[in-house]
């Protein structure tokens, strides 16, 4: 009798495990057949931000966090899949910032997601709209003015508006002196990598958020790589000019007195010499250049952005 009682739990557990396994197998079959349903994940059931706000019953902040997380997931998954349809990005950001108008990170990163030409929605107009909304809701926050100026300057090449916005940003409480310098520089000159470096340096220095700082540090590293490769390519071109052919390796450049030694990337890995006579990152280097669609890779000016 005792043995029979002891067996019952084990039998139950075994039956439960078997049934759960069967349920999992069934779920796999359902998933395989439900590609249409899965495709519907990229839809907003409610697209009216004010309706969502009302339905949140006072939990707008939490809902905004959830929508922001969904925005990040949406952007990330599309980036990885090299998808070009970012149509849902604006509605998601619209809902997020309506639910929580103080969510600065959504304006700042949202503007990047929207404005990126290859790795984003390529909708600088919406990025400008988003950041302007952020400034209206957070008039004391100079970071947003700085971001808006960046959009005018870097994406739209609208230097007068960029300079004016940098000036406005520099007048806000806590704004670093660099913004005034930016206003002056943008007023005086056209677009350059140097300016982008200044902006990312400012973001790196001013942000307390480690994720934002990491992103800025990564961008700065990429800019440094871009600088180095341009400089080294110029040296290779000079070699070609002198000797009528591209150098086969760095040694030939050294022998010609054009290079003292092979410089290293920001992570300390020496640049390597390609068969096309151009320098590139060491494959072992942890620096990752964003993978872009073929059409974007054809445009060297936007290779690192």
């Amino acid at each position: 009798m005792k043995t029979a009682f002891r067996r019952v739990p084990w039998l139950s557990l075994g039956a439960m495990a078997l049934l759960l396994g069967a349920a999992a197998l069934l779920q796999m079959r359902i998933d395989a057949q439900a590609s249409d349903v899965a495709a519907q994940k990229d839809e907003l059931l409610l697209s009216s931000p004010s309706a969502i706000q009302k339905l949140s019953l006072g939990n707008e902040g939490l809902l905004a966090d959830i929508y922001w997380t969904r925005t990040v997931q949406f952007y990330g998954s599309h980036l990885i899949a090299h998808a070009s349809n970012y149509d849902l990005l604006w509605p998601l950001l619209d809902v997020t910032t309506t639910l929580d108008p103080k969510l600065i990170v959504a304006y700042r990163f949202g503007a990047i997601f929207l404005s990126e030409p290859e790795a984003g929605a390529n909708r600088t107009d919406l990025a400008v709209k988003l950041v302007k909304r952020g400034i209206a809701a957070n008039p004391e926050n100079w970071h947003l003015d700085s971001d808006l100026a960046f959009l005018y300057y870097w994406r739209l090449k609208d230097y007068p508006d960029a300079a004016a916005t940098y000036r406005e940003a520099s007048q806000k409480p806590g704004a670093p002196l660099g913004l005034k310098l930016m206003a002056a520089r943008v007023s005086a000159m056209g677009g350059s990598v140097e300016t982008s470096r200044m902006i990312w340096t400012e973001i790196y220095d001013s942000s307390k958020d480690q994720t934002v700082r990491n992103k800025a540090a990564q961008e700065l590293e990429l800019l440094k790589v871009q600088d180095d490769e341009q400089r080294l390519d110029a040296v290779a071109a000079e070699y070609q000019h002198r000797f009528g052919r591209l150098p086969a390796n760095a040694e030939e450049l050294r022998a010609a007195g054009l290079l003292r030694d092979v410089p290293t990337d920001p992570e300390g890995y020496p640049y390597v010499f390609g068969s096309d006579g151009k320098f590139a990152l060491d494959p072992q280097s942890p620096i990752e250049i964003p993978v872009l669609p073929p059409s974007a890779e054809a445009a060297p000016a936007s290779k690192y952005k």
Partner: protein, 259 residues
């Protein structure tokens, strides 16, 4: 007033503990741990915000569920189990019994909310963020949630004096939702040209408890200060409104035929 309400309150609290009501804290703890670990992996730059928003929203929602579903059974259960007759045979007024029941549930909610607040603090510490002065406003948000729950509990108790638990829960939740939308309802009235409708929505606005007053979660999550005037005004509003509801509950319960 005698010491009887206190005795009833302590026993109501003990009963709630015996009923394992505080087990919801385990769920809350798991939720906070999950959020603290997960959010950093799946989102961007909102670890601190999520802990505060999720923590305070959970305190509010868990508290609301407890206030409504325990509150609506406070009187009904005593009548159903016939324990009320034994109690009322003792030197205790019906109004004292109600106040005691109300105090007991408030005590339960206070203990529950305190532990949850502690959980939010631990989760904030876990996400590696040093505490700053502005975090004190989180405690004000928790205090406002408690005021809100005090109002909800009073409403649930009021309905439980003359209605079944199911209907009482529906009435209480209905008033809660109406209270959240109170300013919108008044806004709709102002859009119309109908003076009668405008007056009706304005009267409704002042009649239902305006629960939106107590919501400062988003503001404190961003480290914004809560005006001191709002703290005492909300306190007074909750005391006055809960007082009115308890007097009404007492009036109804005193006249109720328990035979």
């Amino acid at each position: 007033m005698s010491a009887m309400p206190g005795v009833v309150a302590v026993n109501t609290f003990r009963e709630a503990v015996r009923d394992r009501v505080l087990y919801n804290l385990v769920l809350f703890a798991l939720m906070m741990i999950g959020a603290a670990i997960l959010v950093g992996q799946i989102s961007l730059g909102i670890e601190r915000l999520v802990i505060i928003n999720l923590g305070l929203s959970a305190i509010s929602i868990f508290g609301l569920v407890m206030a409504v579903f325990i509150g609506v059974g406070l009187v009904y259960k005593e009548i159903e189990k016939r324990t009320l007759y034994t109690l009322l045979a003792k030197p205790i007024r019906r109004s004292e019994f109600l106040v005691g029941k109300y105090g007991g549930l408030l005590l339960t909610l206070l203990v529950n909310t305190s532990f949850m607040t502690l959980g939010v603090g631990v989760a904030l510490y876990y996400v590696g963020r040093p505490f700053v002065r502005a975090d004190a406003w989180i405690l004000v948000a928790v205090y406002f949630i408690l005021l809100e729950l005090a109002l909800v509990t009073a409403l649930a108790l009021f309905f439980s004096c003359f209605s079944s638990p199911m209907l009482s829960a529906l009435f209480t939740l209905g008033i809660y939702v109406t209270g959240i939308f109170a300013s919108d309802i008044r806004g709709f009235g102002e859009f119309t040209n109908n003076e009668a409708l405008k007056t009706a929505t304005t009267v409704l606005y002042y009649l239902v408890p305006n629960f939106h007053n107590f919501n400062v979660i988003s503001a404190v999550a961003h480290g914004e200060a809560v005006p001191v005037a709002l703290i005492w005004q909300n306190t007074l509003y909750a005391v006055v409104y809960a007082g009115v509801v308890l007097i009404a509950a007492s009036a109804v319960f005193s006249r109720r035929n328990l035979k």
